[in-house]
Structure formats: C-alpha cells, structure tokens
C-alpha cells in the first residue's frame, strides 16, 4: 500500500464511512415522509465510497464492492423499469404503484410501498453513475 502512513485518516475513515452509510440508509427509508430519497441516499453512499478511495486507494474500493459499477447502474435502471412495468401485468396503467400495511417482526405495523423499489433502482443507478465517473477520471493518472 503506497499510502500506509496516513494512520489518522485511515482509522477515522473506517469509522466515518459506517456513519455516513448508516445516514444514507436512513435517508433512503425516510424519503416518503420527510426529506430524503433514493437520489440523495445514492450520492451519500457514493460519498462514503469516495472517502474510502481517498483514505486508502481505488483498489480498496474495488475490493469492498467487487462489481463493475456500470453494471450496478444497469441493475438500478432495470429495477426501476420493472416497478413501472409490473403494473402492466395487473391491468393497471404504467407506473401505477401499490402499497399495503404489513405486520413485520421488529418494526410492527409498517407501510410498504412499491415506490420504495423504484427508489432502490434510483439509488443503485446514482451510486453506479457517480462511482463510474469518479473511478474513470481517477484511474487515468
């Protein structure tokens, strides 16, 4: 590792990355009722990964997420597309969403909405695009 001496940066990042990712997760799930949503959560997660890339190097990020980020973008688009298309199979207009209340083990009565799956698609697409841009520019040098 070329930058082995940045002990402060590396150790603090180890902690901060998890905090940032947790906050991203919070933003992702809170999007329906308060500010947040797939887009900002995606940017936040990409920010965490970028911090990791700055403290260590790009190889570490690749080890953490061993997929091609372009494929993650594609997967996100595919998920978003499928949520819209799903309505077609129930004879509903395109992008019609459904929701219901479920009794979940730890959370109790929870509202689950297909818009969340759409948001997951947005989230993955944003993470994929941001990381593709950052890594493509970063790897040139």
């Amino acid at each position: 590792m070329p930058r082995g001496s940045d002990i402060f940066l590396q150790n603090i990042s180890k902690i901060v990355v998890f905090i940032v990712l947790a906050f991203a997760l919070y933003l992702f799930f809170t999007g329906h009722g308060s500010p947040g949503g797939g887009f900002i959560a995606g940017l936040m997660s990409a920010g965490a990964l970028l911090l990791l890339a700055l403290a260590y190097d790009i190889e570490t990020v690749r080890k953490v997420i061993p997929f091609d980020f372009k494929l993650i973008t594609a997967l996100g688009l595919l998920i978003a597309l499928c949520t819209g298309t799903g309505a077609l199979f129930f004879g509903e207009p395109f992008l019609k969403h459904a929701f219901g209340y479920f009794q979940l083990p730890l959370l109790g009565k929870t509202e689950l909405h297909t818009a969340l799956i759409f948001d997951l698609g947005v989230y993955l697409a944003v993470v994929g695009v941001t990381m593709t841009i950052l890594l493509t520019i970063g790897e040139d040098s």
Binding site: A74, L77, L81, T85, E92, P93, F94, L95
Partner: protein, 508 residues
C-alpha cells in the same frame, strides 16, 4: 387503460438497459437489437391502427387524471411519426451492423442508440411540457454520447460546439417552462391550451411563445442552424442518419405541437416569425447545398431545406398546410434516413468525401447509383415519389393564405435540392473513375477516412438491405399517397382543430 402507448418507449428502454449487461457479446447485442427494432415497428403500426379506428388515445401514468399526472397522448400525427421513426430506426440499425465497427459496438453503441430512440418516441407521445423537456434531454444526452463515441479528432473538435449549443438551448427551455408555469400554473399541454385560451394570448404569453420558438428552432435547425452543418459532419454515417432523420424532426414536432396546440391564438405575431424563419432557412439551406462540393455538407444543408419546408407549412395555418406538414414530416424522416445511408455507402465506395476525387462509380455500383438517383427525385418532389404530395399540399396552403413570395422561395429551394443532389449523382457516378493515385495526393481527406472505410470497402449485404428497406418505404409513401391521405388528413384535422386534442385529454 391503454398501456399500448407506453410500449414504444418501454421496449427500447428495456433493450438499452438489457444490452448494458452484454457489453462484449457483440453478436448477441445485434440479435437482440434487431428483434427489438422489428417489435417496435409492429407496436407503432398497432398504435396507428388503434388511433385511426378509435380516435385519440391517452394513457394516464399511474392512473392520475390529466392536469395532475403525466399523460401520453397519441393522436394520429404523433402515432404516424412514431411509426416512421421506428422504421427509420430499424433501417439505421441494420446499416450500423456492418459499418459502425467492433470498437464502438463494445462501448455501448447499441445502448446509446436505443436510449436515443426512447427520447424520440417519448417526445412524440408525451402530453406534458416538462415531460417533453425530460425526453428531449434523454435524446440529447444519448446524442452527446453518440457524437463523441469513437473519439476521432474531428468528433472531438465538433462535439463541444454541439454540446454547448444544446445545453444552452435546454437551459432556455427550462426558463421558458418556468415562465409558462408562473403565468398559467399548469404543465399539461391540453390544460395549458385551455387556460391560455381563457386569459388570451398576449403580453407575457407572447414572449414565452417566442422563447419556445427560439428554443425549438435551436434544436430543429430552423434558421438558428449555425451549429448543424459542422456537428452533423463529425460522427459516423449511421449516427448521422439517426441525427438527420430524427433529431431535427423532434424539434420540428415540438414547434408544430406548441404552435398548433398551446399558442395558436395570436397567429399574426408567432406565425409571421415562423414564416420568416422558414424562408431564411430554405434560402440559406439551398445556397449551402448548392455551394459546397463535399458530400457531408451538401447532405447536411439538405436537412435544413426540409426543416424550412415543414415550418412554412405550419406558418400557413390552413388545412392543406397542416396535411402537408404531416405528410412532409413522414417523408422527411424516411428520406433523410435514406439520404445519409446512401451517402455513407457512396463515401465508403469512393474512399473520399469530396466530389473532386470521385467519378465513374456507376460501373462498379450501379444499384447504389440508381438508388441515389431515385432519392434525388424523391427529395425534390417528383410526382410518383414521396416528396411530391407533401410539397404540393404545403405550397397550396401557402397560396391559399396569400403567401406568394414564400411559395416561390419554397419551389426555388426544391430546385436547389435537385441541383445539389444531381451534382453528386453526375460527378460521382458518371464520368471516368480517377486513377488510384488520390491515395497519395488527397491524403488529408482520405487518410482520415481510411480507418473507417477499409473494413466496409466491400459492398456489404446489410447496408444495401437498409437502403432498400427505406427506399421501398419512400416509394410506397409516394405511390400509395392516396391510401395514406386518409390518416394524414385525420392527423391534419387534430392539428388544425386543437379542441379535439383537448377534449380527448381532459375528458371527464
């Protein structure tokens, strides 16, 4: 609930996303793309029949009623344009199989191709002005990718101009939508039309109307076309065919839709502007087409003449003019696609893009020569071919409306079209083939082309198939003008009478 309407957008989008997973498997990509292209033509044809038999179709996204949700609206104008665009898309796809090169294919060429089609079909079908902006951006961002893909020196030189102009015009588009929303408080096109009719189109609304005209003219190359001849000469011919056939037409479609549906109430102001810009476009396009001797520029200026013609038809504001607009746009999408496909084959066969290095090609490639000849006649508007009916209707509309000068300009520009294309035909196909020496002599233009044209130097089956497909459509549209005239005038009816559109969208 009419989910058929979303399929033209959904299919290429699913394809584009799907193809991202098989980047290296070029054969698989081609097969999937081909099947998707054929399916799209079928879907578009189905929509045309549905709209012809049952009137204007709407789809409310997510089941939200019109002024609140996004609607897709297929009147016959939009449906016919989607059909023509999908046929051209299919032909260009077949043409790109053998000409685009493996390098580009591995770098998501077919993905960008299909995203561009998503933007085009979406722009035609949407009934919401902000959604129109979004589909414009989908189309433009794919076109940015396609214009730079490959990264040759020429592309890198022209792409920044193209990007700058389009980013600027997109910003203006958002500003115009913001002004419009601030003044009438809705974004749905039918609802906009209704509200503007209530408050009267004057003062600030006229300013917004002119702002929209400027925005869409920048996209369509109507008078504000300074960026077009250079930018369209940069990417490979398959991409140029897509741009020349579809991108300017989407801008034109937006002009036609905006000024027949949203801002038709002060024709004395807006339509005079459009008439003036149409005249200038036809004159400058004609001069450019006649002046240049390199084929890409001649073809690019011919695109402009077509744009001017449609704008002229719109400016007349008569029933004949509207029918002419519909017919001419169908013809223009198909024939401009054909023009660039044939131009690409011609340049690949000759090995140079300048007329000075060409000659005698008719002996080696007779099929190509006569196809080009037919194309020249079709673009000029010689009776049995497709350009005729549209031009007659538009000029008749112009004469009805007392626009004698403009009609004469239109006819003169047709002559210049004929002159410029016959110039190519005469100098490239007749005469004596130049000796093989231009390799050393005209190295500036040939060496650049060498890398691109060597793999395609042999006359392939696929480019011919693409050209023949489009040529058959162009001939069928001309010979079968009587068969098409029913749907075309039905489409012209909705353009001339926007209340039909409004009722279909805002029905309780």
């Amino acid at each position: 609930m009419n989910n058929l309407l979303v399929l033209p957008v959904l299919l290429p989008m699913a394809l584009a996303v799907f193809l991202m997973f098989f980047r290296k498997k070029v054969r698989l990509q081609r097969a999937i793309a081909l099947v998707g292209g054929i399916a799209n033509v079928a879907v578009a044809a189905l929509i045309v029949f549905r709209v012809r038999d049952h009137g204007i179709q709407t789809l409310q996204f997510g089941g939200w009623a019109p002024p609140y949700g996004i609607v897709f609206v297929a009147d016959l104008f939009a449906a016919l344009l989607v059909l023509a665009a999908s046929i051209t898309g299919l032909a260009v796809l077949i043409y790109s199989f053998s000409t685009i090169g493996r390098e580009r294919e591995e770098h998501y060429y077919y993905t960008f191709f299909h995203f561009l089609l998503v933007g085009v079909y979406g722009s035609f079908l949407t009934g919401d002005i902000f959604n129109l902006f979004v589909f414009f951006e989908v189309m433009l961002i794919s076109s940015y990718a396609l214009i730079t893909l490959g990264g040759s020196r020429k592309q890198m030189r022209e792409a920044p101009k193209y990007l700058l102009v389009n980013i600027l015009s997109s910003t203006l588009f958002v500003a115009a939508v913001a002004y419009l929303y601030a003044s009438v408080g809705t974004l749905n096109m039918a609802h906009l039309s209704e509200r503007i009719a209530e408050v009267g189109q004057s003062g600030v609304l006229n300013v917004v109307a002119v702002l929209f005209l400027i925005v869409f003219s920048l996209k369509a190359g109507l008078f504000l076309f300074f960026w077009l001849p250079g930018s369209y000469a940069a990417p490979p011919f398959a991409v140029r065919a897509l741009f020349g056939a579809l991108l300017t037409k989407v801008g034109l479609y937006a002009i036609v839709r905006t000024f027949t549906l949203i801002f038709p109430y002060d024709a004395a102001l807006t339509h005079t502007w459009i008439a003036g810009m149409a005249a200038a476009t036809m004159i400058l396009g004609g001069i450019g087409a006649a002046a240049y001797r390199d084929i890409p520029r001649i073809l690019n200026f011919n695109v402009l003449i077509g744009v001017g013609f449609v704008a002229f038809g719109l400016a007349t504001g008569t029933r004949d003019g509207m029918d002419g607009v519909v017919f001419y746009m169908l013809h223009d999408i198909l024939s401009k696609g054909l023009m660039f496909v044939l131009g690409g084959m011609l340049i690949a066969a000759a090995g140079t893009d300048h007329l000075d290095g060409m000659g005698g090609l008719i002996r080696r490639r007779p099929g190509l020569g006569w196809m080009f000849f037919l194309l020249a006649l079709a673009l000029t508007g010689i009776p049995p071919l497709s350009g005729f009916a549209g031009k007659v209707l538009i000029v008749r509309g112009g004469l009805e409306d007392g626009m004698l000068t403009l009609s004469l300009v239109a006819l003169a520009s047709s002559l210049l079209t004929l002159y410029s294309l016959i110039k190519i035909f005469r100098e490239a196909f007749w005469g004596v083939e130049p000796e093989a020496e231009p390799d050393a002599e005209a190295s500036t233009s040939t060496s650049k082309l060498k890398s691109k044209s060597t793999p395609t130097a042999r006359p392939g089956l696929l480019p011919n198939a693409a050209a023949i497909l489009l040529l058959l459509c162009v001939i069928a549209l001309g010979v079968g003008a009587n068969l098409v005239s029913g749907p075309v005038s039905q489409a012209g009816e909705t353009l001339a009478n926007p209340s039909l559109y409004i009722e279909a969208v805002l029905k309780e």
